[in-house]
Amino acid sequence: MSKKYSPLFELTVSRAKEFLREPEALFWVFAFPALLTVALGLAFREKAPDKIPIGVVAGQTAQTSDGAIKALATSPVLLPRRYGREEGLKALATGKISLLVDPGPPVAFHFDETRPDSRIARLEADDALQRAAGRKDVLAVRSEKITEVGSRYVDFLVPGLLGMNLMGTGIWSIAFSVTIARSKRVLKRLVATPMRRSHFLLAQILGRLGFLIPELIILVGLGWLAFGVPVRGSLLLLVGTCLLGAMAFCGLGLLVGSRVSTIEGASGLANFIMLPMWVLSGVFFSSERFPDAVQPFINALPLTALNQALRAVMLEGATLPQITPQLAIVAAWGLAAFVVALKIFRWR
């Protein structure tokens, strides 16, 4: 009889076991982000930039077009091919080639000024033809090419996926687990005991945090081993940031699951909350691509702030003071969500 039982501990362990016994959940939390990292990392690995295809039409004489093709082929970025006039204009219009060269004389360039590739091709073609015609460069220049670790797509991607995973796991797992408990009247049975309601909600969050470290090891470890994605800042700060992010999204998960009594309802609400952040918050591409007018809104989203903080720590080696504003945004969301969820939570 003297045996001591801690309800918070028992609830947390139960929650963790429940999660571990859900094979689908394990897939989404651990395997899916790993697969996504590998797939996207491979798809966007660096390779020599593609050559720009351009067309050359027959000039006044066969020699002028042969000479033009030869001259253009000396450029490292152009891929010239011979076209008939009609055929060439059509290829340009449909985007198969970026530039159509009429070697003349006089030389004429057909291109679409709104296409960056067309403009590059025009400058390169002009350069190549001028040199072939004997122009001498008056200024000597030297090109230095860089592919720095930390500036590649996969470096951008891994922190984004980490943030997305913290959001997805927190919101899905908690919203679903409390919704199922409510729809099956497990909650009703629990509130018929002396259990403290805050213990139940807290256990949902603690149970989830237990999986944070393995999750981090898999994603960050995979990025590092497979693609050399760096962690330039303090590892402790990275873990702390993830912990805060995970807790904040757990709070949002509780909010999503606070009143609905069907899985369909919970899933609709979860998607409604997460979809904008998948698109806007800079998971797969930088959120700065969106217009300036919406930037304040985007920056206030919890996933944007978390992704910014994660990228700053991993890629730029940021320290705590540098990411404090972002962490404050994340913490504010989590706290507000938890407080509201606790208030409006429906137990039966």
Partner: protein, 314 residues
């Protein structure tokens, strides 16, 4: 065992209980009093308002009107203390299917300051061999036994059981009945709902028959049955049918009524009424297609009180 803070003869009292839902009044001015140490049964058909009543008493549902007093106090005043002293098994209790039996009982034990050893409770309900089985894999009877185990593990003074044996196999029923008897032997009070008359007769000291949100009869099972003024019931059917007037005229027949295709005749003495009935059928030139007799039960009482069977059999 916690001793009651205020020694009270009454474990549960409610007066003028009303609960309305959008389209129906589930409880319609219901009064009850359950004495300490007794086993009290709420008996009635589905939809009579039993579950709503018991959930109001359990502090899980707010009544629209009425006074509720449990263990000498009220839910508003002492919810936390009451929860420590109550054991509750909801109708079709659902427990987390991903947890094992052992984990579930341990979890429930952890909610109570004082309680019983989970292992002992599992053993009592013959679940110790299922300790490592997931709740989702249990049979209906095992799940219900686990639900009762969860109600008992906090060592309650008052046990609420909402249809504890509905849909159970006979063996599980007997095991649950034993637990109720056992719990009472330790001084506990039980309030249960059931629509099984035999369960109420077997377990309950007193029974309230509930219909349409009201108590329509109250007393010990024996007294209620006696109020039928008939110790036995004859059921018969014949071809062609015998008119009601002719049946009423038979010696010792109280209130003939229909039960399915049969006539049911509450009678005091079978030896007096059965020969008279057979003679009547013979005289009418009818052919007997069914004849049976049984001791009067609460079911017969319910039928005679409401004109409806307790369970609408199809």
């Amino acid at each position: 065992m916690i001793s009651p803070t205020t020694p009270s003869e009454t474990a549960v009292r409610c007066q003028g209980l009303v609960k309305r839902y959008a389209d129906v009044t589930a409880v319609d001015g219901l009064d009850l009093e359950v004495k300490s140490g007794e086993c009290f049964g709420l008996l009635g058909p589905n939809g009579a308002g039993k579950t709503t009543t018991i959930e109001i008493l359990e502090g899980l549902t707010q009544p629209d009107a009425g006074v509720v007093e449990v263990l000498g106090t009220t839910w508003e005043k002492d919810e936390d203390q009451l929860r420590e002293r109550l054991g509750i098994s909801l109708q079709e209790t659902q427990l987390n299917e991903k947890l094992t039996v052992g984990e579930t009982i341990r979890l429930f034990r952890s909610f109570y300051k004082e309680g019983r050893d989970p292992e002992v409770v599992l053993a009592k309900l013959a679940l110790e061999e299922k300790r490592n089985a997931r709740v989702g894999k249990l049979s209906g009877g095992q799940k219900q036994r686990l639900a009762v185990a969860c109600a008992l593990v906090g060592d309650p003074d008052l046990l609420f059981l909402d249809e504890p044996t509905t849909g159970l196999d006979p063996q599980s029923r007997l095991q649950l009945w034993e637990q109720v008897t056992d719990f009472r032997a330790g001084g506990g009070t039980v309030l249960l709902t059931t629509h099984y008359m035999d369960e109420a007769e077997r377990l309950c000291d007193r029974v309230a028959i509930v219909d349409r949100g009201k108590v329509i009869a109250l007393g010990t099972p024996a007294a209620l049955i006696n109020s039928l003024h008939a110790a036995n019931v004859i059921e018969f059917a014949s071809e062609p049918d015998i008119p009601e007037d002719a049946l009423r005229a038979l010696p010792g027949v109280a209130e003939p009524h229909r039960r399915g295709p049969n006539w049911a005749l509450p009678v005091n003495s079978l030896t007096e009424s059965v020969p008279a009935l057979l003679a009547l059928i013979e005289r009418s030139g009818a052919r007997l297609s069914h004849l049976s007799t049984h001791q009067a039960t609460l079911e017969d009482l319910f039928v005679s009180l409401t004109g409806r069977a307790l369970r609408e059999e199809s």
